[in-house]
């Protein structure tokens, strides 16, 4: 029993960074911006979150600074793709190369190249009274760090925003047909920039979560593909908040399972277990196929003058 409940607890914890990053991507794609630079944004968010938490001693400062640096870096992407109409994929790759390079540079400057890792105190879990005593799901959902609650709250808010509010529908129109949206008086360019702010902030927070709420230190390459798995989660979750939550819980489960199997098994090289999340991503995408349910104008540049 304790194996299972521990596994589920870890699944939720591992799902949260994916969930934050994937929701960021959802906001981006809903405004027509396919951002594959998530991995890089999370990497710089992770480092800056760690660094500022290390200096200030507050995990919340770390999370906030992670968000800010994510926004700052993503503004480069926004300027290039929205204003200059650069290819989204190509520019996402540019961010994936720039942001980790910046992160490792800042790390070297600050901590030198010594091998001893500096550590920080992780964010404390907060128990929600009464609810946490519900068997099984109590500790699972109501005895976590505040970031977990925020992530789940964000899923609900996102779903509500995109389906029930006028602003959300306007926002989606930009991703489906920017020209039609523009004729309705929606400011397409501003929406796209807003999308990049949200995407940058959430990706940065997702990265910062890894250093401030999950592992108490920073190692290079700690994102290890989560940015791309989050991208898969958006497709797998069919561009809806709930679907993305389910996808992220699934990938989080794979990650948690992998760690436990590594510990539990003897004789099988541990790398085979580490492959599980990546193989699961490939299988999940293959099984679900490529429905064309994404925003129609995603990835296409928007030029005002063009007809």
């Amino acid at each position: 029993m304790s194996f299972v409940s521990n596994l589920l607890l870890a699944s939720v914890r591992m799902a949260v960074p994916l969930l934050l990053i994937a929701l960021g991507e959802l906001y981006s794609e809903r405004a027509g911006m396919v951002n594959i630079g998530l991995e890089g944004l999370a990497a710089i968010g992770s480092l800056v979150g760690f660094l500022t938490c290390f200096i200030s001693g507050s995990t919340w400062v770390g999370i906030l600074c992670g968000a800010l640096v994510g926004i700052a870096v993503n503004m480069i992407y926004a300027f290039a793709t929205v204003t200059l109409c650069a290819n989204h994929t190509v520019y996402g790759m540019a961010i994936n190369i720039l942001a980790p390079a910046l992160a490792s540079f800042i790390y070297r400057i600050f901590f030198g190249s010594g091998s001893d890792l500096s550590q920080i105190t992780l964010m404390k879990t907060i128990n929600i009274p009464i609810l946490k005593d519900i068997p099984i799901i109590g500790p699972l959902l109501f005895s976590q760090t505040p970031m977990v609650y925020l992530a789940f709250l964000l899923v609900i808010l996102t779903g509500f925003f995109f389906t029930k509010t006028q602003a959300g529908l306007n926002y989606r129109a930009v991703g489906e047909n920017p020209k039609a949206a523009a004729t309705l008086g929606i400011n397409v360019i501003r929406t796209k920039y807003l999308a990049c702010v949200i995407c940058g902030a959430l990706s940065g927070i997702g990265g910062a979560y890894l250093t401030t709420c999950y592992s108490n230190t920073y190692t290079e390459g700690n994102i290890s593909g989560r940015g791309f798995i989050a991208l898969a989660a958006v497709i797998f979750g069919r561009w809806s908040g709930g679907g993305i939550l389910a996808a992220c819980l699934f990938f989080g489960f794979c990650d948690a399972l992998q760690i436990r199997l590594q510990v539990a098994s003897v004789g099988i090289p541990y790398q085979f277990f580490q492959m599980i999340p990546y193989v699961a991503t490939v299988i999940a995408l293959t099984v679900i196929g490529s429905g064309k349910s994404g925003p129609k104008a995603a990835g296409k540049p928007y030029r005002k003058e063009e007809r």
Binding site: I36, I76, F79, A80, L84, C85, A86, N87, T89, V90, Y91, M93, A94, I95, N96, I97, L98, A101, L102, S104, F105, R108, I109, S113, S224, G225, F228, I229, L231, A232, I235, P269, Q271, F272, Q274, M275, Y278, V279, T281, V282, L285, T286, G289, S290, R303, E305
Partner: protein, 355 residues
Amino acid sequence: MDNSRKNLVNIFVPVLSILLSILIGMIIMAFLKANPVTAVKYLVIGAFGTKQNLGTTLTRATPLIFTALCACFAYRCGVFNLGGEGQFIMGSIAACFVSLKFGLTGIPAVIVALVCGTVAGGLWGAIPGVLKITRGQNEMIISIMFNYIATLLMGVVYTNWLREGSVPQTAQVPKESQLARIVPGIRVTWGFVIAIVIGLLIYYFLFWTSLGFKFRAVGLNQTASRFNGYPVRRYMLSAFIISGAVAGLGGAGELMGTQFRLINGFASGYGFDGVAMALIGQLNPIATMFVALFFAALRTGSTTMQAATGVPTSVSDIIQALVIVFTVAGMALTQLPEFSTFIGRFFGRKEAQAV
């Protein structure tokens, strides 16, 4: 924009981006309280100063040329293969098995290892290719997932299957099966020559053969190619396999010529570096090779720079990243209609306004 001006822009933008990035790199150096001019001087000396240094630069350029050509070839055919690193690693794993387990030595071992590496890379590239054309998968995500899988598989090889001794690494490729050096005493091996030849072959294929034209046509406009009766899916899969094979050959060459053993960190980052170089080189195989050389020089030189001035080597990574950021943005800028108008007004030409 007419062709000659387009070519000019294709060269002008990357060169300007490189200069601008170096300038920013020098500003960073100044912030680190080093003299930027001295630092750059040591960077150049470190990369080209002596025959040995030049040899190191060419040696470091070799794997980058392979992964860059891998990316370049795939994008020309419209498939975004980000799996160069995985394909490179699979090539080196195959070569490692051949040279350590097959009992061959000398030239036959080298040839079999290179061929097996090429095949392994091609097969590894075929997986995302097949998923792309049969299931309509996003090839970027899939190929990146296979990078991680390949890296972990390499981990199994050096910590388990082919581990030698207590350190997690494989045994060394026997001396007699290593790739020979071109000039005795300098590190560059025939792997560099193979890289250049592959680059020229790809250039010839893409720009001087009708099949190459069709490949490029698929990359430029899939719908038009389909209506022309080109087997678009087959070309896409072929592009994946060929680009994977190029990366696999590079991996085998790197193992047989430079690294000699698999170890933690082998090939780390080569895949994305290759993508960056292909994009900076405007997907032209020959330009791409020059870009790879430039970045190899930057890396080799930065070691000397760090030793002499204390500026950390990661400045060179920043410079490289800035080059790609500037180049892609710059190319996008030149394609904006406003830009053509502006240039047209600047030079007082009429035809520019018609663009």
